[in-house]
Amino acid sequence: MPEYKGMVQPVRATPEEMRKIHIEPVPDEQKPQKALEYLDQIRKKFRSFVMAMESCTKCGQCAENCHTYLGTRDPNNIPTNRAELIRKIYKRYFTLEGRWFGKLVGAEDISLDVIEQWYSYFYQCSQCRRCAHVCPFGIDTCEVTFIGRQILHWLGITPKLHASVGAAMEKVGNHTGLPKPGIVDTLEFMSEEIMDEFGVEVEFPVDKPDSDIMYIPSSADFLLNPYTLMGAGMFFTYIGANWTIPSTVTEAGNFGLLFDQYWTQRGNVMRLLNAAQELGVKKIVWGECGHGWRAAKMYIPSLADRPVRWPITHIHDEIADLIRKNELKLDPSKNSKPVTLHDPCNYVRACGLNENMRTIIRAVTTDFREMTPHGADNFCCGGGSAILFDDPEMYQRRILLSKKKAEQVRATGVGKNGDGILCAPCSICKAQLYPMVEEHELGVEVKGLVDLVGKALVWK
């Protein structure tokens, strides 16, 4: 179902697929009533949601600061209007002003059409939090679309992409459905590649007992972004670390954050803690994945069902730390092409990685150019929250959603000669930008940050 009454919508999971992730779809005629029930339940729990429902003054500041509105000019893609899709229901049933002055304040009765609106617009939101960042009150529309998607999920409405990823995660521990033999094979192949290209011996230990460090790569790094994983392997080898990759969690991402913050997200958290305990590690280091890093860093403390005994840091934190201590010998001339950095939203607005990424990129490249705006003010790539849908209508949307990013990249001039590098150290950003730099003809190659580190290491 690519469209519903003129609204684009991602293809949804079938009832069978929903059952695989433990959801029994609610029949259409019961959906409005059930949606209200779930909304009532959830609003009493999350203050971030209540405040987003109850303190917006509609000043309009978020509009021109949201890449989805800038790209589509669809009024429902203005963050406060996106939240209004649920706020109008909230007002109607849970506030005095809505019950007494319904029309005046824009309250509306719940209906199937409203639920379909949620599905269309909550899955056009990248949950990048730029609206929270610019809002005078700090209202976080991301919290609204999180909860909207949660209610949709409970109703049995989840994009096929997200549902299948949730199922794969439960089955094999990564989003791509890659089983352990495949993981080991791919890693051996990467060792060979590293030998051929860089002339160094790098081993990727899998499930090595009594390792000190457990590295959690993004599963996309096995297939789509091999240089990121190769870079990480080279880094850990270079510093002589006793490290391993757990075969049960070869996934830095956690799609639970994006559609089901209850069972799916918590299940992945517990899976990680089990792996850490079994392998007896001392520290967990996270790979390049934006939403996954947010889910790990900010949500594990509140989702874990038992004490978390392991400090968790990002590989950028560790590389930047060693660069500051002058312990890595790096040759920036190995990356001499013009480079610009796309700040993944989750890194800069939700995880505080801003400075560390810059410490690294300045140390490993010779021609680094900042985008405008950058850092916490940066715009999303348009793929945020994994709205990486491939069906034709949604794909067209993705081109629109990445328009602002394309303008930003073009303005840096790095792709002028067709040999620029767009460093986007997040798997979702990479997956969005690989096709989008072609669509917008930006003349850049998309790479991770650890890729550049691996290339710049001086071994002897």
Binding site: E54, K58, A63, A132, C135, F137, G138, V200, K329, A376
Partner: protein, 273 residues
Amino acid sequence: MKLLIGQILPYITVTLFTLGILYRLGRWAGARIIHNITLSPWLQNNTQVAVRIGSEAFLFRNLFRFDLALWAGAFLMHFALLNILGGHIVGFGFLGEQFALIPFLGITPELSKEMSDLLGTVFGILLFVALLYLLYRRLALTHVKQVTRLSDNLWLVYLLVLVGVGNIMRLVPAFHIEYELVRDYIVALALFQPVVHMELLNSGFFLTHYLLVQILLIVFPYSKLMHLFGMFAERWIVNRVYHDPAPGLPNVDVAAARAAGIGVPADAAEEGV
């Protein structure tokens, strides 16, 4: 009318306003901060939190950074409003002689009255103009129009009328109201004394102004005006202290690893890669 607006309603207003605010704050407090959704870059200590929340609340930092025109309108409006509310309290409380109470400035009571008049006039006009600008924005700018509901415009019109009536009393000598009249009325009201006979209540403009204020206060706790408190509640969620876990990998000695030539193949090591 005098009995209703001047004598009875004020007590109802104060009660409903207080209970309403408590209800709304309790409703917010009932829901919890479940996950840590602090916005980065991190604030490192509570002083930084206070500075951030304070600069957002009193200087409208984000509006300044991302939309100067909106900042100008919103800041002027709220700054004028704050001064007018303060002016009502000290002006009536000290009969316009409040500035003479500041020590060492040598301001005479007469000068203080003139200053009080001037400030009241200036801020009254500023407030009216700023409200007009905000209404203009809602009607003229596409993206603001797209987020505006009918009630948003009605609130601005309501405030314009309320402020407009206030300005008439200040600017038109014939309708001017002396500070003493208001002070005596408020004192009587606070002491639960009958006020219906008082001269103040003969002014139609005063009654209108006063009624509009009371309706506003009654509706306040259930309306968007609660953003006054809402902004602090929201900021308290997204602007908190956060400390990153310390970097540093267990049992890693880079110098030793490099000296041992880990990763460098034996034959390559001799050639010097």
